[in-house]
């Protein structure tokens, strides 16, 4: 007999504390930051003046010079563009390394799989600052990699790319692995028996079956990479600013809260865009196919 009450595990009321917290400390802040992005910049120090304006958004797009002429704001748009390119590069790098790694792990014996998954997870538990610092050591001028002849990459976009890929590689490996691990290998075997080459089995059977793991990996790498702050500000130079640092500046030195809020809303919109593309796929293709995505994505 199926239980009639909404939850068999205990009182249904137990959800309210967490949901209230979500409404007050996630919902309300997202509304307030959107509101702030449409307000006037406060004249003193920080804060805003409660007067509606879309100045923050137009200043991202258009700049006005001393003569009153309008032109595209290449500084801000350049930073946004660079963030998108860099996040895409990080995603591609993680795809190229992470997907084969996930397949490789899934091909091991179960006990080895557990050890390898643990090994992939451990770096995730290490403080992000310590992990980023490790790359500062390796990439610095006179750093360890320079001793084996590598060029000095610290304080360039390359260093940011490496640092971000390093931080998010486990995010790509784990969802792909969790799909690969459930895959019935006899399907691949059938492919080989029917005369397909390794490449053909990879592109026609293996990768399509891993599609949902790969898609969720792409989402969970791309989104945080887009808004990253720690790695770009420690590994990238002053010249290679990204959205994260730009937002931080508006709440620090530049003291332009509406602009900072507008940039955060922009980041939020891009995130929602990526996620809805994903959800749309899920809806149009019917059932939830990837258990691994469940929980990672709301």
């Amino acid at each position: 007999m199926r239980v009639k009450r909404s939850s068999p595990y205990g009182p249904a009321r137990a959800v309210y504390p967490a949901l209230t917290l979500g409404a007050v400390l996630v919902g309300a802040p997202l509304l307030v930051v959107t509101l702030y992005s449409f307000l006037k910049r406060g004249s003193f120090g920080s804060g805003v003046v409660y007067k509606f304006t879309s100045d923050a958004y137009s200043s991202i797009l258009i700049q006005t010079n001393l003569l009153g002429e309008h032109s595209l704001n290449s500084a801000y748009l350049g930073i946004i563009w660079r963030s998108i390119i860099l996040a895409s590069a990080v995603t591609i790098f993680c795809l190229l390394i992470g997907v084969p790694t996930a397949i490789w792990i899934a091909l091991q014996t179960p006990s080895r799989q557990r050890i390898l998954v643990l090994l992939v997870t451990i770096p995730f538990w290490v403080n992000v600052l310590a992990r980023t610092y490790a790359w500062m050591l390796l990439l610095a001028d006179k750093g360890l990699l320079s001793k084996i002849g590598a060029p000095t990459l610290l304080y360039t976009n390359w260093a940011t790319l490496i640092g971000l890929s390093y931080a998010f590689l486990p995010f790509m490996i784990l969802p792909v692995y969790s799909v690969a691990e459930k895959l019935d290998i006899r399907i691949l075997e059938a492919g080989f028996d029917l005369g397909a080459s390794g490449w053909r089995v990879l592109t026609k059977i293996l990768l399509p079956s891993l599609k949902f793991g790969i898609l969720s990996g792409v989402a969970v790498v791309f989104i945080p990479a887009l808004g990253a702050y720690v790695q770009p500000s420690l590994l990238g130079g002053n010249k290679s600013m990204l959205i994260g640092s730009l937002i931080n500046d508006q709440f620090g030195e530049s003291r332009n809260w509406p602009l900072g809020s507008a940039l955060a809303v922009l980041l939020l919109a891009m995130t929602v865009g990526v996620l809805s593309a994903y959800k749309w796929r899920e809806w149009t293709r019917g059932k939830r196919n990837a258990e691994s995505v469940d929980g990672i994505l709301p």
Partner: protein
């Protein structure tokens, strides 16, 4: 055939390992998979090992090896600013992890099997910190606190950390809940237990390992958090990551080598201990 069956049973994964032929075939046909797999493990561990080795460096120059020494470890443990920041972070992570685990347990239990349709939007909000770039939630919380005039102090930082941890704490609890046989709860109800009694006598005892895992997870996330703490730090709320970030901005130094090595070893050690404990308990 019989041998195959026992092996399948042992592996617990049908099909995957029962067919080593396919595995070998793939490994032979797509050799790059193995090379990239080993390569990516190297990529993941090279930096960690480097930091670990260089924390025992004698030299004043952080990147030049000058012989083995534990000198910088003793410097670090006597750094009072660092210790103060570490103590503050601990005093924040402890209540954060307990609160987050409690709230996440309530959420998982109250949602039941299918979840609550009417509350769907609120569930999305609770889970949002998991997927939104952290800077978005941090900026949102900062503007919210400023709009409703909540001062930035220990309590407001605690609240923000709890919000950040709840969706992570929710994951192990819900996945454990899904693994438990439903008939156990039905039996408890058929025997006349009301929902609170089911909660106390059945659900919580069964969930205990997952609740502990959720607490540990939240503890580490709170200890590690940088961005939220940076945006919401008040006059007397310097967390350990905030202090370390200040040092890192100055570049490599032997002291930071040691701090990073400790940040690497301590959570790893904790993680392995908890896994061993769970394994022992499982047997």
């Amino acid at each position: 055939m019989a041998r195959m069956d026992t092996r399948e049973a042992k592996c617990g994964i049908r099909g995957w390992n029962s067919s080593m032929k396919g595995t070998l075939e793939i490994r032979r046909q797509i050799p790059t998979v193995g090379a990239l797999g080993i390569g990516s493990l190297g990529f993941l561990y090279l930096p960690l090992i480097t930091v670990l080795v260089f924390s025992f460096n004698k030299s004043e120059d952080a990147t030049v090896w000058g012989g083995f020494s534990t000198h910088w470890y003793s410097t670090v443990v006597h750094n009072s600013d660092l210790l103060r920041a570490a103590k503050f972070s601990l005093s924040l992570a402890l209540p954060t992890s307990l609160l987050a685990a409690t709230l996440a347990t309530g959420l998982a239990i109250g949602l039941g099997i299918g979840g609550n349709r009417r509350m769907a939007i609120l569930q999305v909000l609770v889970n949002a910190p998991l997927i939104l770039p952290e800077i978005v939630t941090a900026v949102g919380t900062l503007t919210f606190f400023s709009a409703v005039k909540i001062p930035l102090n220990f309590t407001s930082l605690l609240a923000a950390h709890v919000v950040l941890c709840v969706p992570f704490a929710f994951l192990p609890i819900r996945s454990r809940l899904r693994d438990i046989d439903l008939s156990i709860f039905e039996a408890a109800q058929d025997l006349g237990a009301d929902s609170w009694r089911v909660l106390r006598k059945v659900t919580v005892p069964l969930l205990l390992p997952a609740i502990l895992a959720a607490t540990l997870l939240s503890f580490i996330i709170s200890m590690d958090d940088f961005l939220t703490s940076m945006f919401l730090s008040g006059p007397n709320t310097t967390t350990l990551p905030l202090y370390i970030f200040g040092l890192l901005k100055l570049g490599a130094s032997p002291e930071v080598n040691v701090i990073s090595a400790l940040l690497l070893v301590i959570p790893t050690f904790g993680l392995i201990l908890s896994l061993m404990w769970r394994k022992k308990r499982g047997k």
